[in-house]
């Protein structure tokens, strides 16, 4: 942690700032916020998902409320000057933001053009641009990538380019909005180290928006906590906040860094059951290619009844493809999938879908109807249940997943956590033997993740097999078995405890140890 030299001149001073979207004016997203961001300081902004953290970032750089239908009150001062007095496009050059979604923050095809875009906006003479691009690529560790196409880069690489583009603004304040959300564990760590390195050089103030502090913890000077009601609940140094205000943080659905956490890790909260010897799903000699590129190479894998299996590995290692093949959504080039002892392709589609559930990364993709109730009864109707039966079954599901009051809401209008719960509830309308999940905890806060894990553990105790694709090593730690993929091949298949001993493999597959074992890591 860096020392703070006495009282600092604030770079950004937020006074009595409130903001609300026009459609929900009675409940402001933030309410009378007062805080400052200081030079050469790293501040972490925490809060549950849906608390409006990302919107705050855009209020700070002056894009909101103009860009949306919203109303703001109060004042924000940048270096002593009210941000409303800045010309359009002036303040955005002082306050740079790296956004969460690597897919939607670029407008050019190649790395070089994207970085040049920033510099052209700053009206840097064309002759000076190339040198600046090269220097910046070197600074973020992406030398030699200037001619690469952005969409061909990995998630971690994309975010490094996003960071480079923003740093080329030479901003006074750098805002990082959950920049590591969809990276594999090692890429995420590398990115965080990179931020730390870069911050040390210029006198820049950094604001990190995250719902988990764990990897940033070492370098942050101060934490701001925004509550669900939009108030600023805490402005404190990390150690103090995490020891004295635990109840507050928990209530707000914020992840505590491992060492401060009293909540047992998923691993401890789970009653280990002994899976039966019977296989519910088996994969034999599976190969799959996409555009002449081998995505899966001769994969063999089994899932037993009632077993909780985690599939891990870096982005692009073939994890999602594998579970899509397992679910019969893609046909393999070679090899077979057996489900309940029968060839997958011999199953009738209708029967198969009743006995196998699949939850996608984006819950919205699964929604078909206009209300939560119809969504839950969609499958039942097709299976010929009576009105009475459907009502009872849907009622039970809504009870279990806290969706009762939302029965007549449109699924698309729900909050992130509610959408996630509904998407899980919809695959439970029949009685599946196996549930496949594709990164279901991506972008979810602590409370939602915890809740989802509770449901999953409950399902598993009912002898349903669970297969999870995830980057979250704490979840992997709670599994009966972990299967690690590396370049389309199974690099490891065994219990988590034996995986954690294979340092070399963990590094190669771009994984990390789970939080409970990480203290030894020395990071």
């Amino acid at each position: 942690m860096k020392r703070l030299n006495g009282r600092q001149q604030p770079v950004l001073d937020v006074r009595n700032f409130s903001f609300s979207y026009d459609e929900i004016i009675e409940q402001p997203l933030f309410n009378r916020l007062n805080f400052t961001l200081n030079q050469n300081e790293i501040t972490l902004l925490m809060g549950a998902s849906g608390a409006g953290k990302s919107s705050l970032a855009l209020c700070l750089n002056g894009l909101y409320p103009e860009a949306v239908e919203g109303t703001a009150s109060g004042d924000i001062f940048f270096q002593g000057k009210n941000i409303q007095e800045f010309e359009r496009g002036e303040l955005t050059k002082e306050i740079g933001i790296v956004f969460q979604d690597p897919e939607s923050q670029f407008c050019m095809i190649t790395v070089e053009d994207e970085l040049a875009f920033t510099l052209e906006n700053r009206k840097i003479p064309a002759s000076a641009i190339r040198k600046k691009i090269m220097e910046m690529l070197k600074a973020v560790g992406m030398e030699g990538f200037e001619r690469h196409k952005i969409h061909e880069l990995s998630g971690g690489e994309k975010q490094k380019i996003a960071l480079a583009a923003v740093l080329l603004l030479e901003p006074k304040i750098l805002i990082l909005d959950e920049p590591t959300a969809n990276m594999d564990p090692l890429s995420s760590l590398e990115f965080i180290r990179l931020v730390e390195e870069i911050q040390n050089v210029p006198q820049m103030s950094v604001l990190i928006i995250e719902h988990q502090a764990r990897d940033w913890f070492e370098m942050i000077d101060r934490i701001l906590l925004i509550g669900r009601d939009g108030h600023l609940l805490a402005d404190d140094v990390p150690k103090h906040l995490f020891t004295k205000q635990k109840r507050l943080l928990k209530r707000e659905g914020v992840f505590l860094p491992g060492e401060f956490s009293e909540v047992p890790a998923f691993r401890e909260s789970r009653t280990q059951t002994s899976p039966s010897a019977e296989y519910v799903l088996s994969v034999r000699g599976l190969s799959f290619s996409r555009r002449k590129q081998e995505v899966l190479k001769n994969v063999n894998m089994d899932v037993r009844c009632g077993e909780f299996v985690v599939i891990a590995g870096e982005n692009g290692a073939g994890k999602s493809t594998l579970i899509q093949v397992m679910a019969g959504l893609l046909s393999p080039d070679a090899g077979e999938v057996f489900f309940s002892g029968r060839l997958l392709k011999k199953w009738k589609e209708n029967e198969l879908r009743k006995r196998m559930g699949f939850v996608f990364q984006n819950p919205e993709h699964q929604f078909i109807t206009d209300t939560v109730y119809e969504e839950l009864t969609f499958g039942m109707k097709r299976n010929g249940l009576s009105e009475q039966e459907m009502e009872t079954a849907a009622g039970e599901l809504m009870e279990q997943f806290h969706l009762k009051e939302l029965a007549s809401c449109n699924p698309f209008a729900l909050s992130g956590g509610q959408k996630r719960r509904l998407s899980v509830a919809t695959v439970l309308d029949a009685t599946p033997d196996i549930l496949l999940f594709d990164e279901p905890t991506f972008g979810q806060d602590a409370a939602t993740t915890m809740e989802l894990m509770d449901y999953i553990m409950a399902l598993q105790s009912k002898r349903k097999a669970i297969v999870f694709v995830t980057h979250d090593m704490d979840i992997a730690d709670a599994a009966d078995r972990v299967v690690v993929f590396k370049e389309g091949e199974v690099a490891f298949d065994g219990i988590p405890d034996s995986l954690w001993q294979k340092e070399e493999l963990i590094r190669r597959a771009r994984l990390r140890l789970p939080t409970r074992l990480r203290k030894k890591e020395g990071g």
Binding site: L58, N61, L63, A67, R88, G89, T92, K93, G96, I97, F99, D101, E103, S104, Q105, F106, C107, M108, I109, T110, D113, A116, F117, T118, L119, E120, N121, R122, K123, I124, P125, A126, I129, R130, I150, H151, A165, V166, L169, Q324, A327, L329, E349, N350, R353, K354, G357, F358, F360, N362, E364, H365, Q366, I368, F378, G379, R382, F412, T426, V427
Partner: protein, 262 residues
């Protein structure tokens, strides 16, 4: 090679390709488009590095299309074009020398159009094209960068549609029959696709603004697109040959514009 078409300024190239395309569309004789088609082929194979096999693969659909056009025009040519003696007739069709000529001409014109388009598409970088529109044709940066950002959306949309299809299959939505079913299915795909598309577009717009983009035409250009002498030379070549072909065909008495013989 020094005179690669891929290095020609895209805006000029576009005009140099569009003008012959439009003017040839007005000629109804066989000779003019045939001669110009030969010229396009010569240009394509001497001044670009498109591999012949790849070109043939892409050009073959045009061949089929063109012969289709030629055939139907020949059978259905109207009074203006179907003069001349009857060559043969079957069933209700009467094929005359005039209609054969018009048919072949239509086919050749389609081929010219195909060959010109291929030459343009295969030698033009889409980013450069937009940048050139902005720098030469004074297209506003807002529209230019908007379209450039849009390029990135196509593959994302495609991928998303595929996932939605899969997700619906999992839920047991079967391919629906009938018009009502089709409409319903379209709606189911369209809503999440659009919801996501709009959200992504908004995010991109905000990210662009956050990088200091205001749409102000006063900006520096890292990739300077200029119109040099050789770009105009190419333009003169394309249009000049077109004029020569017209003149030659007029001189030889073949030229026919809209059924009017000159």
């Amino acid at each position: 090679m020094t005179c690669m078409i891929s290095s020609i300024n895209p805006s000029i190239k576009m005009v140099a390709v569009l003008i012959p395309g439009i003017l040839l569309g007005l000629t109804y004789d066989v000779f003019t488009p045939l001669l110009y088609l030969m010229f396009i082929l010569v240009v394509t194979f001497t001044m670009t590095d498109i591999p012949i096999t790849r070109w043939l693969k892409l050009f073959s659909p045009f061949l089929i299309l063109a012969s289709g056009f030629a055939w139907t025009t020949m059978l259905y040519a109207n009074q203006t074009f179907s003069g001349g003696e009857t060559l043969f007739s079957f069933w209700i069709f009467e094929v005359t020398a005039g209609s054969v000529q018009t048919g072949i001409s239509v086919g050749l014109r389609s081929l010219c159009f195909g060959a010109l388009s291929l030459m343009f598409i295969l030698t033009t970088d889409s980013t450069k094209l937009m940048l050139s529109f902005m720098q030469q044709c004074k297209l506003s940066p807002k529209i230019t960068y908007g379209i450039l950002a849009g390029y990135r959306f196509l593959p994302i949309f495609q991928h998303e549609l595929q996932i939605i299809r899969q997700a619906h299959r999992i839920r047991g939505v079967t391919r629906e029959q009938g018009i009502k079913g089709r409409v319903n299915q379209f709606r189911r795909y369209a809503i999440p696709l659009l919801a996501n598309g709009i959200r992504k577009a908004e995010r991109v717009a905000i990210a662009m603004e956050s990088k200091g983009f205001t749409g102000d035409p006063d900006r520096t250009h890292y990739r300077k697109m200029v119109a040099r002498k050789r770009d105009w030379l190419f333009f003169v070549l394309m249009i000049g040959v077109l004029m020569t072909v017209f003149a030659l065909s007029y001189h030889l008495g073949y030229l026919k514009i809209f059924g009017r013989q000159f």
